[in-house]
Amino acid sequence: MPGDAHIQDGPARTLGYETSKLGIWVFLLTEALLFGGLFMTYTVYRIKYPELFYDGHLELNRVFGTLNTVVLICSSLSVAAGIAAIKRGNVKLLKHCLGVTVLLGGVFMTVKYFEWTEDFARGLNPGTDIFFSLYFMMVGVHGLHVLAGMGVLSAILFLAGRGKFTAGYYTPVEVAGVYWHFVDLVWIYLYPMFYLIG
């Protein structure tokens, strides 16, 4: 542990790159445990009521779920590409990439909207049974994170437009990117848990 002693230099208020990276990872730790409670609930009830989960997952629309998985994976690629671009100082490409990501986030939420509308129309709602309680809770909390991520990336896009980022300073882009990838990562688990194996 003593090896990691970063010694501050100058006023502490300049956020260092390393400091911010550490900050976002600690934040993701708490996010992971926020979802962790739901994963625990899922595990407990899946073991307790396997049939309920099997029957429940057949009710869900696999096409929407798969489509959304693809959409999020693509959005992750575009964020990653954006960060690679700003590392080279290519602000224009960064803006394009961020724009695509926010757009794909919007697509994700739109698909979600149609999917939920369909679910509600068929009388499936959070109070239906434990499976649907879990489905709506986990997907809903994830959806809120997608919205938050879209907000953050839009802000980054706005700042990029004002020329705030250069090859020498892109800490906020990187941090926001890590967050967006985490949102994608959670969905990677939610997709099979609800749509495929139930």
Partner: protein, 87 residues
């Protein structure tokens, strides 16, 4: 251009794995369905974490904080299961 290429390879693998897990779910393997789905999801998650989130190049400290929640998550799940499954 190396990093762009890596990102596209990772992206391609993620899409391929999504396709695999989707197809596998139609084959009835019993309990193995769950195992297969979770293993594939974990591989995908690792790809995202290692390459997209740059965990590959991070310090040991960041690795620590990235893996830390898994420890607590399993603690929470096993602790609770020790009750729920053995009543």
């Amino acid at each position: 251009m190396k990093d762009y290429r890596i990102y596209f390879i990772v992206w391609g693998s993620l899409l391929a794995l999504t396709f695999v897990t989707w197809r596998v779910s139609y084959i009835d393997l019993g309990v193995l369905n769950v195992v297969a789905a979770m293993v594939i999801a974990s591989v995908k998650a690792s790809l995202v974490a290692l390459y997209f989130m740059h965990l590959r190049n991070e310090s040991r400290l960041v690795w620590g904080f990235a893996l830390f929640p898994l420890v607590f998550l399993s603690l929470m799940i096993f602790g609770t299961l020790s009750d729920v499954l053995f009543r």
